[in-house]
C-alpha cells in the first residue's frame, strides 16, 4: 500500500523533471532566445537574488494588505446581505434582482468606471477586490441560510425562540459549511483580483506591478518567479482555509 503511494508520488515528479530537462536542453543549445526562455539556472539565481534583496517582500506586503482590506469588506458585506436575504423573503425580493443583474457584469468590466470615479487610488483597488469577494460570499451565505431543515424550525417554534436566538442557534450553524466555503472562494477570488488590480490600474507597488514591470522590461526570469510566488500564496491561502474549515466543522462528522 505504502509502496504504491510512493510510486504515485514519484510518477507525479516525472513530468516536471522531464520538462525541466527539456527546458535545460533547449536553453543550453540556444534553440530559443534567452530573452523568451531564460535558462533554469538563471531563474534560480534571480530568485535567490530577489529574496536576498528584499524588495519583493515589500511588494508582497503591499499586495497582501490590499487583499486583506478588500476581502474583509467584501465578505462582511456579503455576509450581511446573504443572511438578510436568506432570512427574509421580502429583502430577497427587494435586493435579489438587482444583485443578480449586477453580478452578470464580468468583474473586470467595472475597472474603467472605478478609475473614472475614484481615480488610480488605493481605494479604487480595494473596492474592486471587495466587489469580487462580495458576490460568492453573498451567494454562499444565502444558500446556506436556506438549507435549514424544516424540523429544526419547528423545534425552534416549540421552544418559542426569538429571532436572534433562532439565527444564532439554528440558522448560522446549519449555514456554516456553506459560509465557510464562501469565504474560501472569496479569498481566492480576492487574491486573483489584487494581481488584476495592480496590472489594470497600472499603479506602483505590489506583486502584480512587479510582474508587469518585468514584462515591460522583458525580464522573463522575474515573470516566472512572480507567477510562482503568486501561485504559491494562492495555494497556501486556500489550504489554510481548508484546514480551518475542517476544524470548524468537526462537530458535523459526529452525527
Amino acid at each position: 500500500m505504502d509502496v504504491n503511494k510512493v510510486v504515485l508520488k514519484l510518477r507525479g515528479l516525472a513530468l516536471p523533471l522531464a520538462l525541466l530537462a527539456v527546458w535545460w536542453i533547449i536553453t543550453k543549445n540556444e534553440w530559443v532566445s534567452a530573452v523568451f526562455l531564460p535558462p533554469p539556472e538563471t531563474v534560480a539565481a534571480t530568485c535567490v537574488k530577489l529574496l536576498l534583496k528584499g524588495k519583493i517582500f515589500v511588494d508582497l506586503n503591499e499586495s497582501i494588505t490590499k487583499v486583506a482590506q478588500g476581502f474583509l469588506i467584501g465578505i462582511t458585506a456579503g455576509f450581511v446581505l446573504g443572511t438578510a436575504m436568506g432570512l427574509s423573503s421580502t429583502i430577497e425580493k427587494l435586493f435579489g434582482p438587482l444583485f443578480n443583474a449586477v453580478r452578470q457584469v464580468p468583474i473586470l468590466g467595472w475597472i474603467p468606471i472605478l478609475i473614472l470615479i475614484f481615480g488610480l487610488t488605493e481605494l479604487a483597488k480595494i473596492i474592486f477586490i471587495a466587489l469580487g469577494a462580495f458576490y460568492p460570499m453573498t451567494l454562499n451565505t444565502f444558500d446556506g441560510c436556506r438549507q435549514l431543515k424544516k424540523e429544526y424550525l419547528e423545534v425552534a417554534r416549540v421552544f418559542e425562540f426569538n429571532k436572534p436566538r433562532l439565527l444564532w442557534r439554528f440558522i448560522l450553524p446549519s449555514a456554516l459549511p456553506s459560509i465557510l466555503s464562501g469565504i474560501r472562494v472569496s479569498m481566492s477570488e480576492a487574491w486573483m483580483l489584487v494581481i488584476g488590480a495592480e496590472i489594470f490600474f497600472k499603479t506602483r507597488g505590489g506583486l502584480g506591478d512587479m510582474m508587469w514591470e518585468a514584462k515591460s522590461k522583458v525580464q522573463m526570469d522575474i515573470v516566472f518567479i512572480t507567477i510562482l510566488i503568486i501561485g504559491l500564496i494562492g495555494f497556501i491561502l486556500n489550504h489554510v482555509m481548508k484546514i480551518l474549515e475542517n476544524r470548524l466543522l468537526r462537530w458535523r462528522s459526529s452525527n
Binding site: 515528479l13 516536471p16 427587494l94 468583474i107 474603467p112 512572480t226
Partner: protein, 253 residues
C-alpha cells in the same frame, strides 16, 4: 398576484436609484462632470443601439470568446476525460496540472504577452487557458463520479472501450461537464474584457477603455450594460442546450 408583487419589489431599488439620479440632476446638486442624468444615459443607449459601433465591438469580443471557449473547452474536455479514466495518466499529469491550476488566471497575462505578443493570438491563448483549467477539472470529476454499477453492466455486456466511453462514461458525466461549461462561459467572458483592456484596438473592452479616457461615463455605463446582458444571454442559451441534452434525466428521476 404573488408574481406581480415579486416583480414590483424587484423594481423598487432600480427605480429609487434612477429617481435619486434624476433629483441630483434637477436640483444641480453636483458639478462633477462624471455625473450624468438618466436622460443622457438613455439617449446614449438609443444612439449606440442605432449605430454600428457597439454591435461591431460586441461582435468582435463575442467571436474571441467563442474561439477561445471552443479551443480551451475542447482541450479541457479531452484532458479531463483521459485523466478521469486512466489512473496512470492521472498519476503522471495530475500533480503538475494541480500546481498550474493554483496560479490565478490574470497572472498569466504578462507571460503570454512576452511569448505570444499582444495580437489576436494573445487574446485567444489567454481565453483558451482560462477555459481549460475549470473544464478539465469538472470533466475529470464527472468521469470519476460515474457509478460503478453502470461500468459493471458495461463489463458484463463486454462492450469495448470506445463504446464504454460513448454510451456510459460521457452521458453519465454530462451534468458535470455542463456545470464546467457554464463556469467556463462566465470566466471566458471576463477574460475577454481583461485581454481587451490590456491590449486591443477593438472589442467591447477596448470601447470601455476609450470611453474612460474620454470621460464618457454614459458610454461606459451602456457598455457595462451590454457586457452584462450579452453574458446573461449566452448563459441562457447554454442552459437551453443543457436542458436539451439532459432531457433524459427528468424521465429517469
Amino acid at each position: 398576484m404573488k408574481k406581480v408583487i415579486t416583480l414590483i419589489l424587484g423594481l423598487v431599488l432600480p427605480v429609487l436609484i434612477l429617481i435619486g439620479m434624476e433629483v441630483v440632476a434637477r436640483f444641480e446638486l453636483t458639478t462633477s462632470q462624471l455625473f450624468v442624468e438618466p436622460k443622457v444615459i438613455f439617449e446614449t443607449l438609443v444612439d449606440l443601439i442605432k449605430g454600428d459601433e457597439l454591435f461591431i465591438n460586441l461582435g468582435i469580443s463575442t467571436l474571441r470568446v467563442f474561439i477561445g471557449f471552443v479551443l480551451g473547452a475542447a482541450a479541457g474536455l479531452f484532458f479531463g476525460t483521459v485523466m478521469g479514466i486512466s489512473r496512470t495518466f492521472e498519476s503522471y499529469v495530475g500533480p503538475i496540472f494541480n500546481a498550474l491550476r493554483q496560479v490565478p488566471v490574470l497572472a498569466w497575462i504578462p507571460l503570454f504577452i512576452i511569448w505570444v505578443g499582444i495580437d489576436e493570438g494573445f487574446k485567444i491563448t489567454f481565453i483558451a487557458v482560462t477555459a481549460f483549467f475549470p473544464m478539465a477539472l469538472n470533466t475529470c470529476e464527472g468521469v470519476k463520479g460515474v457509478s460503478k454499477s453502470h461500468l459493471e453492466v458495461g463489463a458484463v455486456l463486454e462492450i469495448n472501450r470506445f463504446k464504454q466511453l460513448s454510451t456510459i462514461i460521457i452521458p453519465a458525466s454530462l451534468p458535470a461537464i455542463f456545470t464546467g461549461l457554464r463556469l467556463v462561459l462566465s470566466i471566458t467572458w471576463m477574460a475577454v474584457v481583461g485581454a481587451e483592456l490590456v491590449a486591443s484596438s477593438e472589442g467591447i473592452g477596448y470601447m470601455m477603455y476609450r470611453a474612460r479616457q474620454q470621460l464618457q461615463v454614459d458610454t461606459l455605463l451602456v457598455c457595462i450594460l451590454a457586457v452584462g446582458l450579452t453574458g446573461y444571454v449566452m448563459n441562457i442559451l447554454l442552459e437551453q442546450i443543457e436542458h436539451y441534452f439532459l432531457r433524459w434525466r427528468k424521465v429517469a428521476g
